[in-house]
């Protein structure tokens, strides 16, 4: 079943008018988070898998993608190993695949 897209009634300029300020705020929040980490420990960006994923996501934002930036970032932040866990290791997800998680898979 093929979906039928519905283009936004907004013109490109109207989209910018409508969403620029809040998007500006969000990118400043991202920068503030990374600055906060730098003040705490500049090395954490090289050590924490979540922060590393965030850095790669920022590269994807700039690079763009034919299939969409959001989709690409969602895939980047996803566990690509489809094998189920042999046993429950913890109750919830943490936001990015953790390469140090050695929970057995089947």
């Amino acid at each position: 079943m093929k979906p039928t897209p519905l283009p936004s009634p907004l013109t490109p300029v109207e989209i910018v008018d409508e969403y620029f300020i809040e998007t500006r705020n969000r990118i400043i929040e991202v920068a503030a988070f990374l600055d906060r980490l730098d003040r705490a420990d500049p090395e954490v960006a090289n050590l924490d898998f979540r922060v590393k994923a965030l850095h790669r996501a920022l590269e994807l934002v700039l690079a763009g993608s034919a299939t969409g930036r959001v989709r690409e970032i969602q895939l980047l932040m996803s566990d690509q190993d489809n094998r189920p866990l042999a046993a429950l290791d913890r109750k919830g997800a943490v936001g990015a695949p953790d390469p140090s998680n050695q929970s057995p898979r089947v």
Binding site: T4, P5, L6, P9, L10, Q74, L85
Partner: protein, 279 residues
């Protein structure tokens, strides 16, 4: 504008939340059985919770003119416990004829363990056997992609369950296509941090069209909003979408999906509800 929220964990919310939902146009909601934030220790604990969903919550909702329906099942977060899961599944059929129970839900995967997949597969088979509608939870964050893939594999193998009677919830940009392309319904759940924002939900409707897409708040005991659907409506208006389109997404689509259960009734006087303004 009148709307139906197909996913709201009202057992975790205050009565004021029902009032706010009613004041913002909610006329009906459906509440899937889910995790309480801690694991229940017995199947009897689930029975008590199911009773709350079938008896207490409909009364509370009715005070504000909202029709309350429930989905029953072993939720993904506790489904790794096979012992309790088997007990709960054995008790489920006796509740399926209850007048406000629409089907099995929310079932599915959490961390995508072998046990979770077994329990989920058994519940899909139970739903097919009893000709129930199904509401499926897909995992969060990094577990969503693989979890949705396995969720869909299990559904495809259950040929007695028509795709149009299954709602795969918590869809996001990287999973919505695989849900829609096989004829299933996709649910977008609006959350302040995880899941989908109102703006991204509108993006997905613009990208895929309104067919077989539902939108809900999925409010629960965590950071979440009982009036997320009206905020989605406001976002649709901000994009200058017509009220006819918005009405279709927040009212007609849930009616179309949920009415496959003869128990689901649109509140009297609202069957022909039309948008309050048009462009």
């Amino acid at each position: 504008m009148k709307y139906i929220d197909h996913h709201a964990h009202m057992a975790s919310r205050t009565t004021d939340d029902y009032a706010h939902m009613a004041l913002t146009g909610c006329v009906a909601l459906t509440e899937p059985a889910f995790w309480a934030g801690w694991d229940r220790s017995t199947a009897d604990g689930f029975e008590d919770y199911f009773k709350q969903l079938m008896e207490f919550e409909p009364r509370r909702a009715a005070q504000y003119g909202i029709r309350h329906y429930a989905w029953l099942g072993m939720n993904p977060k506790e489904s790794d416990n096979r012992e309790i899961s088997l007990e709960v599944l054995a008790r489920l059929p006796k509740h399926l004829d209850h007048p406000t129970v629409l089907g099995i839900g929310e079932i599915g995967l959490n961390r995508v363990t072998v046990n979770e997949i077994t329990t989920y597969t058994e519940q899909v088979a139970l739903a097919a056997r009893h000709r129930q509608l199904v509401l499926i939870h897909t995992p969060h964050l990094e577990d969503k992609l693989k979890g949705t893939r396995i969720t869909m594999d299990v559904l495809r193998n259950q040929r007695d369950l028509p795709a149009g009677r299954v709602l795969v919830d918590h869809a996001e940009e990287h999973t919505i296509e695989m849900i829609l392309e096989d004829g299933y319904w996709a649910g977008l759940t609006l959350y302040p941090q995880t899941k989908v924002s109102a703006a991204r939900a509108v993006d997905m409707i613009e990208k895929y069209g309104p067919d077989r897409i539902l939108v809900a708040g999925a409010c629960d005991w965590g950071p979440s909003e009982p009036i997320a659907v009206p905020k989605f409506i406001a976002e649709m208006r901000r994009r200058r979408h017509t009220d006819e389109l918005i009405h279709r997404v927040v009212f007609q689509n849930p009616v179309q999906f949920l009415s496959q259960s003869p128990k689901f009734k649109v509140p009297v006087g609202i069957e022909d509800a039309v948008p309050t303004r048009s462009r």
